[in-house]
Symmetry: C2
Subunit: 881 residues, 2 copies
């Protein structure tokens, strides 16, 4: 039986797939087949690896012969020979599994060097230093990965030598030093009882065995287990001729992008060095030339290279990042891959490639990472700026901000009115601070998680915020903050980056968000793809306007409680809660109604013609009251100091109310529709405010279209009781105004139980939307505020969770409940409108999932609308293909 083929030249590999050749081998075969000047080489198949491993470490019969034969071909091809003292063939040896996989042996360079060929290399390159540097590196790498000598054995000798020579960098060592290192390294190997083989073929065979063996090292096994990669796949081995860019002035090396990776401009962009190796660039001894100069230095090579750039772009249909080397006037392409690029460049390249006929619109849409767009949608720190980073907190609300430190909301307000830019710094914020938050450029807190008051309100406002920055020690009395031993006083300038959580000393250079023409073009294409609609969450007319500008087709969530928290409303909200009798409460509610009616009027006016989903009051009432702890300290102080008796009595009464409303687990407490059921007058007031606003707008010729949403429904009777209330009030307003109001009543689905009874809910609703923040908390049984500060980071690190479920929908748990809810809901009412609000609505992976389970729309912060539009289109395109 003739033996199976285990070794392919790159050219031969063109017809084979990456399961046999591995990813890297298949890629080299492709590049060779389309005529690129790739240094020649060969690939040993994954099958050889599998057989090696299952046979307990025997190279399969025939492999060694095939390898020898192919090496002879390689020698012919390169005009060099293994072990030839004057013109030695040197090769790289690389592993390459079918699925990219860290943990295995990676690369051995310059295999083929030995005590004799190193001299040949020195002669051929005229660079003794280079040759011996290569050799000592080769011995070390080979010693480590093939012979199992530990790294520190080599590093110790090198460090000792540098210390003796009083030099800092490797490249400062003389050729003689490097020769000495080679001698010492070989002694290390020998001392460990190992033999460094001088025969290049033996070097190669041992290296191949080492690559095969590394398939089963611990890290690789764990990685495969974690990622469900089958153990039997095995890895291929690629053996490729080395080329050298330091063989004289007709040699060189460089890196280039086929388009500008910063702007996307269609022009080759990169740099090169004549008579140099890639490492020389890293060492920083010489300054590379811009790629354009190559047209003068090596006009033919330049022309060839530009042709190859075009070829590669056409072949891969993407901007390429290409490494090349010129060896004695001959151009070699060492590597090509899709080039990394800024968001702006990504958009421009994608749009222009469509215009060039290289991509379809759908392909162009798939080319952009939606999350990348975020950097275009917020004012951000100039990437070129030097930053004095003081500490890092939670990235609570994206964007950069800079201003004078103030420690109170009142002062923020006062200074802002004088035209000062301020940064509000608090241990944490409360509803009392809203006016200060509005006035400030950004908010920085030392306590609280991603759903703390500061974080939620800031995100709602689209205002940069860093919270839970525990390194800060805020001293209100001294009006200063201490951070890692440095003191900042009231009025000092501080900056924050809400995108990364960084806190930075002083003023920073910032870049304004830019929405280029190409960006708009791309988003228009996205909107043309049928699939998910995109709405925004907005609580005020400014945000609503922004949402429209960014292309939202409605509002998916108006949080009415934010309207209770503004400076002019909070006292009314508190009066309502603390009211001793019905009359007092009614008076407070009436005043609130007038204010809310105007809020709704303004939002609905901006959104005329678009649907607006208004959620009735959701948070527990105690959120509108001061904290118990502060009251307790005040009361204890008043008692001990014999303070004002009336003040003491007032505070005690307030504390008693706060306590009676306080809850063990507010997240699971008396909130949402439970408030609606137990304090019906609040929802009545809100319904009245909504319908009055609608009536006014209709009379003025606008088209208000409202979805009244009942939060936290878990039981069908909660919905039916409250729906009846809302309908009753709508009927009243319709009767008074003689107008027909365009509204629906529906439920927010944010509890596991609601998902399970979604059929009942759908039967009683015009719509429902998923509140996935709460649904994630109840499905996992962990509170976001507690989890993110405590065990969640550890869970992500340990791989127990692969993503933060508050950022990306957990498809297995939360998503499964959503799937059940959609299925049951649509069974009861096939055409019911189903959406998602909550932060997942702006996350691309979650948007894809929402599309897959059949939602009608997603809703997210106005600033994420463009991202959602793109992600929605991508989800639809992916399913269609």
């Amino acid at each position: 039986m003739p033996s199976r083929t285990y070794v392919y030249s790159f050219a031969e590999g063109a017809t084979k797939d990456k399961m046999l050749l591995g990813g890297k081998g298949a890629n080299l075969a492709v590049m060779t087949s389309i005529g690129l000047p790739v240094p020649p080489g060969l690939t040993i198949t994954t099958e050889a690896c599998s057989e090696y491993l299952t046979s307990g470490g025997q190279l399969p019969p025939g492999l060694e012969d095939q390898l020898r034969e192919k090496l002879r071909w390689l020698e012919k091809e390169t005009g060099k020979a293994f072990g030839d003292e004057s013109n030695p063939l040197l090769v790289s040896v690389r592993s390459g599994a079918p699925i990219s996989m860290p943990g295995m042996m990676d690369t051995i360079l310059n295999l083929g060097l030995n005590d004799r060929t190193v001299e040949g290399l020195a002669n051929a390159t005229g660079d003794e230093r280079f040759a011996f540097d290569c050799y000592r590196r080769f011995i070390q790498m080979y010693g480590e990965v093939v012979l199992g000598v530990e790294q520190f054995e080599f590093e110790g000798i090198l460090a000792e030598l540098k210390h003796q020579r009083q030099v800092q960098f490797d490249y400062e060592l003389s050729p003689a030093d490097l020769r000495q290192l080679v001698v010492d390294y070989k002694q290390v190997v020998a001392r460990k009882g190992k033999v460094f083989p001088q025969d290049p073929l033996e070097q190669l065979l041992m290296a191949v065995r080492a690559v095969f063996g590394s398939w089963n090292n611990h890290r690789a096994i764990v990685y495969r287990k974690l990622n469900n990669i089958p153990d039997h796949l095995g890895t291929a081995v690629n053996v490729q001729a080395m080329v050298f860019g330091n063989m004289g002035d007709d040699s060189g090396t460089g890196v280039a992008f086929t388009r500008n990776p910063a702007t996307g401009e269609k022009k080759i962009y990169g740099e090169y060095l004549i008579n140099a190796q890639g490492e020389d660039v890293v060492a920083g001894i010489r300054t590379p030339q811009p790629i354009a100069s190559l047209a003068q230095d090596m006009p033919e090579i330049y022309e060839q290279f530009t042709r190859i750039c075009e070829l590669l772009e056409r072949h891969y249909r993407d901007m390429q990042d290409i490494e090349f080397t010129v060896e004695k006037g001959k151009l070699y392409i060492l590597q090509t891959r899709s080039g990394k690029r800024t968001a702006a460049a990504a958009i421009r390249i994608a749009v222009e490639m469509v215009q060039e006929g290289m991509l379809t619109k759908e392909e162009a849409l798939l080319r952009i990472q939606p999350s990348q767009l975020d950097q275009l949608l917020h004012r951000r720190i100039d990437p070129s700026a030097n930053l004095d980073v003081l500490a890092k907190g939670l990235p609570a609300s994206p964007g950069a901000a800079c201003g004078r430190i103030v420690f109170s909301a009142d002062e923020a307000d006062a200074l802002a009115q004088k035209g000062e830019k301020v940064l509000l710094v608090r241990t944490e914020t409360t509803p009392d601070d809203i006016h200060g938050m509005i006035a400030a450029q950004g908010i920085l807190t030392s306590r609280g998680g991603m759903t703390s008051h500061a974080a939620v309100v800031a995100r709602g406002m689209g205002k940069p915020c860093v919270c839970g920055c525990e390194a800060l020690r805020i001293d209100y009395d001294a009006q200063q903050l201490l951070v890692n031993g440095r003191v900042f006083r009231r009025g000092d300038i501080l900056s924050i980056d809400g995108t990364t959580g960084r806190v930075i000393a002083g003023e920073i250079k910032m870049i304004e968000p830019e929405l280029s023409e190409e960006f708009n073009t791309l988003l228009q294409w996205a909107d043309e793809v049928p699939g998910l609609g995109v709405r925004a969450n907005a609580d005020n007319p400014v945000d609503a306007k922004k949402a429209l500008d960014f292309g939202a087709k409605g509002i998916g969530l108006v949080r009415t409680e934010h309207m209770f928290m503004a400076t002019d409303r909070l006292p009314l909200a508190q009066r309502m809660i603390l009211a001793m009798d019905k009359e007092e409460r009614a008076a407070a509610l009436e005043a609130l109604q007038t204010l809310q009616e105007n809020d709704f009027y303004e939002i609905l006016k901006v959104m005329s013609g678009y649907p607006v989903c208004i959620r009735l009051l959701d948070p527990p009432l105690h959120e509108f009251l001061p904290a118990a702890e502060q009251l307790l300290v005040d009361i204890t102080t008043l008692r001990l100091t014999g303070g004002n008796v009336e003040e003491l009595a007032r505070k005690e009464a307030l504390l008693s109310k706060v306590r009676s409303l306080s809850e063990f687990n507010p997240m699971l407490g008396h909130r949402g529709c439970r408030l609606g059921v137990t304090f019906p007058e609040i929802y009545r007031m809100q319904a009245k405010a909504i319908f009055n606003a609608m009536a006014r707008l209709l009379q003025e010729g606008y088209e208000p279209h409202v979805e009244v949403e009942i939060p936290l429904v878990g039981n069908i009777k909660e919905l039916t009781i409250l729906k009846e209330e809302v309908n009753r009030i709508a009927a009243e307003v319709q009767a008074e105004s003689r107008l027909t109001l365009n509204y629906h009543v529906g439920a927010m689905i944010e509890l596991p139980r609601a998902c399970l009874i979604a059929d009942q809910i759908a039967a009683e609703s015009g719509f429902f939307t998923f509140g996935t923040n709460d649904l994630t908390q109840t499905t996992f049984g962990f509170s976001r505020d507690d989890a993110e500060g405590k065990f969640l980071p550890q869970y992500l690190e340990a791989g127990i969770l692969t993503e933060n479920p508050f950022a990306v929908i957990d498809r297995e748990g939360v998503g499964e409940l959503m799937r059940i809810a959609v299925e049951r809901g649509r069974k009861a009412k096939p055409r019911i409108s189903i959406g998602i609000c909550g932060e997942h609505g702006g996350n691309p992976d979650s948007i894809e999932f929402c599309y897959q389970i059949g939602l009608d729309y997603v809703s997210c912060s106005p600033y994420r609308v463009p991202i959602a539009r793109l992600a929605a289109a991508q989800a639809a395109i992916k399913r269609a293909t």
Copy 2:
């Protein structure tokens, strides 16, 4: 076409069903057919009602004729005649739908009375007062339900008359007064433009129409809608001859049970009055005689009655509660129904009826309400005691307790050691109070819900507890408590009833729990029914022993945290948590390990041969530390009074630790296996303690069988990581001891997400058990502590929830998740053991559901094991039949 039969005499009805005759009519027919002396009568069918209603209020053709004919028969049967002035036939008219249904017109008595027959009745009974009282009542009732005159019109006149006569009770009015009332009542009717018919036949026809019409009154329609009763059923009308027990000394009336309803003894039990109407008993003018005396007073009647009692018991195969009247020496049975009885009687009757061959064992088992058994399993208040009830709190842990008031755990401990019985009264309890709770007879708190510390610990100890009794004002400084204006001081005697939540002044008479021979017989029969197993939750050897005594077949839940909270362990637990370095923590853990090992050793010794499921540490660590609020007050005080600086520093450090561990929503926080993952040394210590205890027991010849349970699993990797840890430690102990340990590792399923991934969990587990307390909280999204004190009562009242979901499994939501989990779990591993712990495990309705979805066992408090054994048997019997 001959008209359909619309009217049946009771005897004729014996072959018809209750769809045609209604429930009451069918029952009267049955009693008549088995030869009981039921006053004769007739039933108008439900069909007649339906036709009346669909025809828009026309009595069906032929009905009136049939009715006249049957009335003639009735006159013959009774020897009386409609409208006969000397011997009038009087009848009752009652509605009777196929399904019992409140809201419809119920009963009209004495129809047939008019201005002339009333005199006949007076003569016949020799009781003018009685006759006119009947008449005025008849006019009022007829006026209200047939003629639509409002009740207050009559009541006003009656009240006015009583005021004039200066009397308090109706029966104090003279015959002349009643004659006057009749005149006045008729005027009221006339003033309203209605006619009170004097013709008995007309009275009857109008009454029949009124009954038919009442089928469609508002309350009845709502009731049918709520209970899914079809609207077309209609109601029957029963017309029955009245009999009178006040027609001389050969007449009388009485009520009797066929067996003793308090003890179950097989002996007729009841009382009667000679020459009296039922109302005379209610009025309390004369003292009834015990039924035994009837043997002297009316020996023949007594003999006939005892025969009828036997007949009825045999027919209905149950103890009967019988109303009878003797009219002129003739016995009439007016009503029979299954008699209410105490739990003890229920058990004795059921067991004896099996022995008498009247019931099968299965039938006997179905006869007992499992929840009724609770009263037999705890010391309880003597039902005959007069109680001075002060207030009502939550019934947190059943049973009655009585003792001297103490306000601190230390004092409870000290006084108990001197032999005093004490009741621990606190605003709320903390782990610091455990020794006091152990020492006390019972616990009373003014704050906290059904899962507050006091409630949970007390239930675990089986100790009576009333908590969250908000009417109490506890003043620790003054050492007194104020309740509804009354003051109780330290040392005063107070009682509580943990079964009802009552707080009672002074000492009360109590009854010890009794487990009769019949009870044990019944439970043995229950165990013979194949189906659900029953285990108990127990945290110590005393409870484990109790569980065995009550028939538990293993322990379903050992909560290891309770072992951390006992007086001698708490300081160690705190030292572990507050440890500044690894060494200090290790030392504390080692000490805890020794203690836990002994705990496990003792429990497993008692349970040798039975499975014991031990749950690793579950609650968040801050539960072991003092409360932040108290520390805050202490610190503020120390600061202002310039107190001890070291003390201040210590308290500040402690507060800082408490704060760093404190959580916004502890229920959703850093607890359960999240602690196991982030502080692996705690679970390691617990595993080591378990396996060491097992090894010791094996060496001593016992058979420990342990299930190691990982709490709060939501993600499969939490389980696999911790399982590996446990297995590693088991392997260590096995290697050291050279013994094979009989153990499994499994998960507690208490999160929605766990239910959804139960297939993955089952694949990695030897068992799983549902923790339905937490599962209910997360599925509904409400915290028990918050819900029960705030909106849950209102929800139950408004019918939004029909049961407290923390007491009875919510089948629609929580149950649906359990069903999904069992389905997915068994699909992955068909024979995996699945149980339920948590309080639902002792609730009969929930036990039935657990049986239906295929659980292997339920586990509950030792005190509920008998209840669970019975409920489990009932569930299986119900499904089989």
